[in-house]
Symmetry: C2
Subunit: 253 residues, 2 copies
């Protein structure tokens, strides 16, 4: 299927809005720095769900800043076994790694319909050279990605299936909340149980049973792409969820 041509960023919507929300939960970002980020965005594009955005092994010349929807990084075993290594929410740089790695060793794909911005590597180089504080903030983002990966390793390696699914939900709740995409009672999560299985290292059949247990225990209901949290402390306790590894400062400024 053909990739829709990216269109110029139209006025009226700020492509770096979610990114700023996230960055400001880590450090102050000046108005000038925000403008530098805005200027770095070259084009905005859209893609339907389940589309490959960057193939494994490719060497893209620009980075992808996710604006709307969910994007995953995946690796495959043999061909049919898929593992989601990272899941990205709006405001995340999906492939900033690719800037220095040159070549990506994993696939990047849309999980839902997505809207995204392209930031050319040349623009990143300019930021590196003239905006050291901003550059550090962007790199910090990749280090936090790695911290999230470590928590995922712990989850898949040592948590029970039930706690694993619960932890997945806890993490997404907090991360979506940072960019204003969660309510007190829950959040929209338009993905399939197969996707959850690929992220947690389980089968979709078992994910289904674990979700039923979470529902039966009155902790969380996931249905029709919506997660409703019934008992947030209980869910956190079951999952052994501690948001420390997300490196969020208490309040925006």
């Amino acid at each position: 299927m053909a990739t829709p041509a990216p269109r110029r960023v139209e006025e009226g919507d700020d492509p770096v809005g979610p990114l700023l929300l996230k960055l400001r939960r880590r450090d102050a970002v000046s108005a000038r720095e925000a403008q530098v980020l805005r200027d770095a965005v070259e084009a905005v594009g859209e893609l339907p769900a389940d589309h490959v955005m960057v193939e494994a092994g490719a060497a893209p010349g620009a980075c992808t800043l996710l604006l709307e929807g969910l994007v995953v990084r995946t690796k495959a075993l043999n061909g049919d076994l898929r593992q989601i290594t990272d899941i990205h929410v709006p405001g995340d740089f999906v492939d900033l790694h690719g800037y220095l790695l040159k070549r990506l060793e994993h696939r990047i794909a849309s999980l839902t319909p997505v809207r995204f911005a392209r930031v050319p590597h040349a623009a990143l180089t300019r930021i590196t050279e003239s905006e050291p504080h901003l550059a550090r903030l962007l790199w910090l983002g990749t280090l936090i990605d790695a911290a999230v990966q470590r928590e995922r390793i712990l989850s898949i390696g040592r948590r029970t299936a039930l706690a694993r699914v619960a932890h997945f939900m806890c993490e997404l709740f907090v991360r979506l909340d940072v960019v204003g995409l969660a309510e007190q009672e829950g959040f929209s999560l338009p993905i399939t149980q197969i996707d959850i299985a690929d992220a947690t290292g389980l089968t979709s059949v078992h994910v289904n049973r674990m979700l039923r247990q979470l529902r039966d225990r009155s902790l969380l209901t996931f249905r029709g792409g919506n997660a409703v949290i019934h008992d947030w402390p209980g869910l956190q306790a079951l999952a052994d969820f501690d948001p420390d590894y997300l490196f969020l400062t208490p309040e925006p400024r």
Copy 2:
């Protein structure tokens, strides 16, 4: 137990030797850059096996460059369940992440007796400001750490126990070989089966059985802290091991 006082780096042994071996498998490093690295090293220390080097939550003021021995980063669940998220070989910066993250969300511990160098964060800042190419190489190292973590997520999430243990051995063989610590026939790996279990998300009992299978299949023998490779292509095939994710260029220069 008291931590031995770090001693000044004595002449005659080059604390950045292994690091240079690794960096030069990724990009050229000039003699001047090598000297800048040497100058950044403040002190060399030693520690016995199974010692905590940086406690989770701590904010160290210097980074640790591993010179000899093996170091792990670990996270714990409840208290008794341990998961190794990363294993480091000589030449690795163990906690470069801590430079920007400020606080580490995981524990760093020695797996064997280790010798290491301390590089103060202030020295890293100087490198960032005056040696952009070298700085990029160091950051590239943290990005490759993340790539290794992703492969670990795939391993624990989707590989069978046997393939998982085999893959662990393949990775260490290649990584130790980069810094000259492997022979054609095998390598020294003075760790316990419990350690392997904590790295692969298994129990030590099951690791024992998987190691026996690898031996029975004439692929690899692990005994007394030594790994002997009997059939490298066969081991790679069983593990579905592809060293692409280590981002090594074919030959040093």
